[in-house]
C-alpha cells in the first residue's frame, strides 16, 4: 500500500509510543483510525446490508413488543380506581374485618387487596436466602416490563412503538367499496404504506428519472420508485393514506404522552383534563398543513371517543370515510388490489415512517462541485408537547469505504416550529471527482434544534450514481432510522459547555421527584490551571411545595466531575406537568463570584429526549430514568 511505502521511506511513522497510544485511546476512534483500510467491495457491502436488514426486522418487532408491554401497564393503570387509603388501589374494595385483607405494596406503598396483588419470591443468588414481598399488580407489571423490555439494562426504556389498537388503526381510506368490515384488509393496509421506506432505506436508487418531476413531487412517486415490486399504479388515496398513517402515529404519540399524564390524575379530575387536552389539540391544529385538517379532525374524533369509551365502535369507519372518502372513491379498485398485494407483504412493513425529504442534486464538472439543495421535508416526528419540531439537516458524502468524506458536516439553517419545513437551501461540496459519483452516497440526517441537545429526526441516503452534470436530480426520499453515520453527525456537533448525565425518578412513597446528578463531562475550563471546580445547583420552578434549592458538593480541579448525588423535590405527579427542573453548573471560586459553566432545563415544555425522559419518569414512577444531556451556554436565571 502506498501509505506503508511512505512510512518506510520517510521513517516518520514508527511503532506508536505509549503516549501516542494513550492519546489514541482518548480519541476513542478505535484502532482503525491509525490505518487506512481497504474499501469494502460491493459484495461485502451487499452482505452487510442484508444483515442490517435482517436486524432491522427484529428491531422493529422488538420496538413493537416493548410498546405492547408499555401499553399493558398503562391499561392496568387506567383501570385503577384510586379511591383513597381505605380502599384497594386497583379494584376499590373497602378494607375491614370481614372485608378483604389490606396488603401494602412493596414498591408504591399503597394499599391493595389480596386479589389485586402478587407475592413474589426474591431469591438472593449470592446469599442463598429468599424473601417474599407483596406487590400490587401495577408495580409487579411495571417490574416485569422493566425486565422484559431491557430497560433494566439500558437504565431507561428503549425506543418503542405504541401498538395501534383496533380502534386506533388508521384505516387509511379504504374506499367505500372495500368497507365491508374486512378488518384484516384494513390492518394490512395500515401497515403497508411503509413498505417503500423499508426497501429504500438502505440504498436509494434514483433510477426513475420520470419520478423526479419538477415542483412538488407527490408521495406516489416514491411509492412507485421505492416498491419496484409491482404494486402497480397507486392512487392519490394511498398517498394520502401514508400521510394520514403518519399523522395518526403522531397523534397517538401525543395521546400517549397526555394519556400517561392523565392517568395520574384522580378519577374526578379525569374528565376535566380530557377537555383540556382536546382543546389543546385543536388550538395547535392550524399550524399543520391545511390539507390534513379534515383527516386529523376525524382522527381526533375517533381517538377521543376511543378514549372515553375505551372500546371499538363501528362509527370510526363512517367518520373516516366522510372525512376523506371523497378523494378516493375512484380508486377503490386499485386499492383493493393494493391491499391484497400488501397483505402478503404485511409482516415486513412495520417500519415507522419518519417523514419525507425532498432533495435536488446537481453536479458541476468544471468546478468539481456537488450542489445539494434541501428543498423541504414533510411529516417529521413531533418533538415537543405541542407536536412541533425545529428541524435542520446535516449533510456529508459517504465514500465507498463507508467513511464520511468530509470531517466537517454541512448544515442547513433551522426552520422553527414546524414538522413540514421548507429549507430551500443549497449546500455545496467541493472537490468531488466525477468518478466518485458512481459509488458514493450523499447522507442527510435531520435533527431537532434545541438548546440542550439535538435530537435525531430521520436520515436518508441517496446514491450519486445517476447524478450527471447536465441536469438537476430531484427526488423525495423517505427518512429512516438512526445508524452509524447519524451518530457520527451528532458527535460532530460542538457542545462547548459539556454534557451532564442525569437520572430522574418519581418516588411514589415519598411523593417526591428524585434527581440524581450523576456526572458531567467536558466542562469548560475557567481557572488559570486549565481546570474548573464545578458544582451543580438544582431547583424546581415554579415550585408548588416550596422546596429549597439544592447544591451538589464541589469537585475540585476537574472538567469531568462525578457526583452521584441524590436530591428530593416534593411534588405530586400532577404538579410535575407544570414544573421545570433547572440545573446550572458553576465553577466555585473563592474570593470572587462563581463562574457560570452551563445549564440544563427539563420539564413538560422540553423537547425530544428531555421530554421523553420527563414523561417516562412520570409515567413509570419508582424507576430511575437515566440520560445524557447537553449543557447550554445561557443562564436561565438571567
Amino acid at each position: 500500500m502506498d501509505f506503508q511505502n511512505r512510512n518506510n521511506t520517510a521513517n516518520k511513522f514508527v511503532c506508536p509510543s505509549d503516549r501516542q497510544l494513550a492519546l489514541r485511546a482518548k480519541l476513542k476512534a478505535g484502532w482503525s483510525s491509525s490505518k487506512t483500510s481497504e474499501p469494502l467491495r460491493p459484495e461485502e457491502q451487499e452482505a452487510i446490508i442484508s444483515v442490517i436488514r435482517r436486524n432491522e426486522e427484529i428491531e422493529v418487532a422488538e420496538r413493537q413488543r416493548v410498546g405492547r408491554l408499555v401499553e399493558r401497564v398503562e391499561k392496568i393503570k387506567q383501570h385503577a380506581v384510586e379511591r383513597g387509603p381505605n380502599c384497594c388501589r386497583l379494584c376499590g374494595d373497602t378494607f375491614g374485618i370481614l372485608r378483604p385483607q389490606r396488603i401494602l405494596c412493596e414498591d408504591c406503598r399503597q394499599s391493595v387487596c389480596a386479589k389485586c396483588s402478587v407475592d413474589i419470591n426474591i431469591r438472593y443468588h449470592t446469599s442463598e436466602r429468599s424473601r417474599e414481598i407483596w406487590l400490587c399488580r401495577i408495580c409487579s407489571e411495571t417490574r416485569e416490563m422493566w425486565k422484559k423490555s431491557g430497560a433494566w439494562f439500558f437504565k431507561g426504556l428503549p425506543k418503542y412503538d405504541m401498538p395501534r389498537s383496533a380502534s386506533a388503526t388508521p384505516i387509511p381510506n379504504p374506499g367505500p367499496g372495500s368497507m365491508a368490515g374486512d378488518t384484516r384488509a384494513v390492518q394490512s393496509c395500515h401497515a403497508t404504506p411503509t413498505r417503500p421506506a423499508r426497501v429504500k432505506k438502505l440504498t436509494i436508487r434514483v433510477n426513475d428519472s420520470s419520478s423526479s418531476s419538477s415542483g412538488h413531487s407527490e408521495p406516489e412517486d416514491e411509492v412507485d420508485t421505492g416498491v419496484g415490486v409491482g404494486v402497480g399504479v397507486v392512487g392519490g388515496g394511498i398517498a394520502k393514506g401514508i400521510a394520514s398513517t403518519r399523522l395518526q402515529r403522531e397523534d397517538s404519540f401525543r395521546l400517549r404522552a397526555y394519556g400517561s399524564i392523565r392517568s395520574f390524575i384522580d378519577g374526578g379530575e379525569r374528565k376535566l383534563s380530557n377537555s383540556f387536552f382536546f382543546s389543546r389539540q385543536q388550538s395547535q391544529r392550524p399550524s399543520e398543513c391545511p390539507e390534513y385538517d379534515s383527516v386529523s379532525m376525524s382522527k381526533l374524533r375517533r381517538e377521543s371517543s376511543f378514549l372515553r369509551r375505551g372500546s371499538v365502535s363501528s362509527s370510526w369507519s363512517i367518520s373516516d370515510s366522510s372525512g376523506s372518502g371523497s378523494n378516493n372513491s375512484g380508486n377503490s379498485q386499485t386499492q383493493s388490489q393494493y391491499q391484497q398485494h400488501q397483505q402478503q407483504l404485511q409482516q415486513h412493513c412495520r417500519d415507522p415512517l419518519l417523514g419525507w425529504l425532498e432533495i435536488a442534486i446537481s453536479y458541476r464538472e468544471a468546478f468539481h462541485s456537488l450542489d445539494c439543495t434541501m428543498v423541504r421535508a414533510r411529516d417529521l416526528p413531533a418533538m415537543d408537547a405541542a407536536g412541533l419540531a425545529d428541524p435542520y439537516c446535516k449533510l456529508n458524502i459517504i465514500t465507498p469505504e463507508a467513511h464520511t468524506k468530509y470531517t466537517r458536516w454541512q448544515r442547513t439553517k433551522t426552520v422553527h416550529k414546524t414538522r413540514n419545513p421548507e429549507f430551500n437551501e443549497t449546500l455545496q461540496f467541493v472537490g468531488v471527482e466525477p468518478e466518485e459519483l458512481g459509488n458514493s452516497l450523499i447522507y442527510v440526517a435531520l435533527f431537532d434544534d434545541d438548546k440542550y441537545g439535538h435530537d435525531f429526526l430521520g436520515a436518508a441516503k441517496v446514491c450519486l450514481s445517476t447524478v450527471h452534470s447536465t441536469s438537476q436530480y430531484r427526488i423525495s426520499v423517505p427518512l429512516g432510522v438512526e445508524d452509524q453515520y447519524s451518530n457520527a453527525a451528532e458527535m460532530a456537533q460542538n457542545w462547548p459547555n459539556g454534557k451532564m448525565l442525569l437520572s430522574l425518578c418519581y418516588n411514589t412513597k415519598r411523593r417526591a421527584l428524585v434527581v440524581n446528578v450523576k456526572q458531567c463531562i467536558n466542562l469548560m475550563a475557567m481557572d488559570n490551571n486549565g481546570s474548573s471546580d464545578p458544582f451543580v445547583k438544582i431547583q424546581l420552578k415554579p415550585d408548588a411545595h416550596k422546596n429549597k434549592k439544592h447544591k451538589t458538593s464541589v469537585k475540585w480541579r476537574t472538567l469531568n466531575p462525578i457526583y452521584n448525588e441524590e436530591f428530593y423535590f416534593e411534588a405530586s405527579p400532577h404538579d410535575l406537568n407544570k414544573e421545570m427542573l433547572i440545573l446550572t453548573v458553576w465553577d466555585k471560586d473563592l474570593g470572587k463570584s462563581n463562574d457560570f459553566l452551563g445549564s440544563l432545563q427539563l420539564g413538560a415544555q422540553s423537547k425530544g429526549e428531555r421530554l421523553q425522559q420527563w414523561l417516562d419518569c412520570i409515567r413509570l414512577p419508582d424507576h430511575f430514568h437515566e440520560k445524557w444531556h447537553c449543557l447550554a451556554p445561557d443562564n436561565p436565571a438571567h
Binding site: A47, I122, C505
Partner: protein, 220 residues
Amino acid sequence: MASGGDPKWQKDAADQNFDYMFKLLIIGNSSVGKTSFLFRYADDSFTSAFVSTVGIDFKVKTVFRHDKRVKLQIWDTAGQERYRTITTAYYRGAMGFILMYDVTNEDSFNSVQDWVTQIKTYSWDNAQVILVGNKCDMEDQRVISFERGRQLADQLGVEFFETSAKENVNVKAVFERLVDIICDKMSESLDADPTLVGGGQKGQRLTDQPQGTPNANCNC
C-alpha cells in the same frame, strides 16, 4: 423478503413468544473460531474450512432458563480490523460479550486486553463479559495454558471457559452461563433493591467510565 430464505432462522427470528431478549456479541481476533462457535451453538454444525466473516452477522436462538424463555440475538463479528468501524457500532446494544482467544495462538491471547478496552470504550457500562479460550481440542499445538487464561480472567474480573467448537466442549455452557449472569444482574438491579428500582450499581463492571461519552472532536 430481506433474508436469504433460511427457514430455520426465520422461525426463530419471527418468534415473538419469549420473555426476555438478550443481545450478545462474540469478539476476538481473526480466526479464533467465533463463527464456528456460534454455528456450533445455534445450528450444531461444524466445518473446519475458514471463511472470514464479512463485517457482522447474527443468529437468533430462543432458550429456556429459569422457566423463562430468553431470545438470544447473538452477533458474530469480524475479527479483521478493516471492519472495526462496523462491528463497534453494535457494541452499544449488547448486554453480554464473549471475548474469545485461540489457545494455539499467542497473539490472540495478547490482544485480549485490547478487546477489553474496546468493550470499555464502546459498550454500555454494565455489560457482562466472559473470557473464552477456544480450540482446546488441539492440545498438541496449545501455547496458552488453562492456568494463564484463568489468571487473566481473574485479573479482568470475568468468568473463564475453555471450549472447543469442533468437539462441542463447553459451547452450550458458555452461553448458559452468560445468560445466567445477565439474568442475575437483572434480578439484582430490580429485586435486590426494592426501594428504588433501576439503579443497580453492584456486581462486576468492566468500565470505570460511563458510556454515552460524547466526543466533540470526533470526526469519524
